[in-house]
């Protein structure tokens, strides 16, 4: 049976901060999630091809 190759063969790198211990992979994933959340709140979704352009219309039509 073959074993996992590549990055899975190495030892995980852990960040130690007082009583908190977390793997770098998990810490990076959480950081990416927070960045995605902030961007999702701040950035405006572009209009779709079927967006309603009629004057006075506030509806989205996709």
């Amino acid at each position: 049976m073959s074993t996992a190759s590549g990055p899975l063969n190495g030892h995980a790198y852990f960040v130690h901060w007082g009583v908190v211990q977390i793997s770098a992979a998990n810490l990076i994933t959480i950081a990416i999630m927070i960045v995605l959340f902030v961007l999702a709140v701040l950035l405006r979704l572009p209009s779709g091809h079927g967006a309603d352009k009629r004057p006075g219309s506030d509806d989205v039509q996709d």
């Binding site: 999630m33 959340f37 961007l39 999702a40 950035l43 506030d58 509806d59 039509q61």
Partner: protein
């Protein structure tokens, strides 16, 4: 108007049909128009979670069809094993961002408490499904996780019924019981979202709803 129009039917099929057809308002099952505030990235993560779940189920079905020896030894098996893992990673990333967005919108407003509750229980059920998935890898990683988890589960008194060292039991929970629970909750959650509509932002005006 005849008497049959005003009196509820005694036929259970008619009553069930009426109940199902009135669960979601007309035109809301697959709407082609949404309120203006839905034009925001934060409203995308719910459906992104559903898309990831479809890939999770499809790749998991292939793994179940072919078996453990296949996903450990063949290159195509490795590929589907990886697709299953990474679709689960994306499923959780999208679901947690969806949760954050809905939490800060207080998405339980406007008679949406049951929508919130079904989502929360589906989240907990998904964690259990992912956990039993890690236990079902049939490698040293799954053995190590089971060895660590048994002490915690024994400490809370459920180790006899939910034995993480019993790989057969964990595999069946992973491929049958927990996916069924999550699947039912997700269907209920989506029905409730369609029934009550997506939650508006705090500063939405009645014009935004039109």
């Amino acid at each position: 108007m005849s008497r049959t129009d005003v009196q509820p039917s005694r036929s259970w099929t008619v009553r069930l049909r009426n109940r199902i057809s009135h669960t979601v308002p007309e035109g809301q099952w697959l709407p082609d128009r949404q309120p203006v505030y839905v034009r925001s990235w934060i409203y995308v993560f719910g459906v992104a979670t559903l898309a990831a779940l479809v890939v999770v189920i499809a790749s998991g079905t292939v793994l179940a069809l072919k078996g453990a020896a296949w996903w450990h030894t063949s290159s195509i098996g490795h590929f589907f094993n990886s697709v299953h893992l990474w679709s689960v990673e994306l499923f959780f990333v999208f679901m947690v961002i969806h949760l954050w967005g809905k939490f800060f919108m207080a998405a339980w407003r406007g008679k949406r408490a049951l929508t919130w509750i079904t989502g929360a229980i589906a989240f907990v059920g998904s964690i259990g499904t992912a956990f039993t998935g890690y236990l079902s890898q049939t490698n040293f990683d799954s053995q190590w996780i089971a060895g660590q988890a048994k002490d915690g589960l024994n400490a809370v008194g459920i180790g006899a019924e939910f034995n993480v060292l019993n790989s057969g039991q964990m595999l069946l929970w992973h491929v049958m019981l927990l996916p069924m629970l999550v699947g039912v909750l997700v269907v209920l959650h989506v029905i409730l979202v369609r029934r009550h509509g997506v939650v508006p932002p705090f500063d939405a005006t009645p014009q935004d709803e039109s």
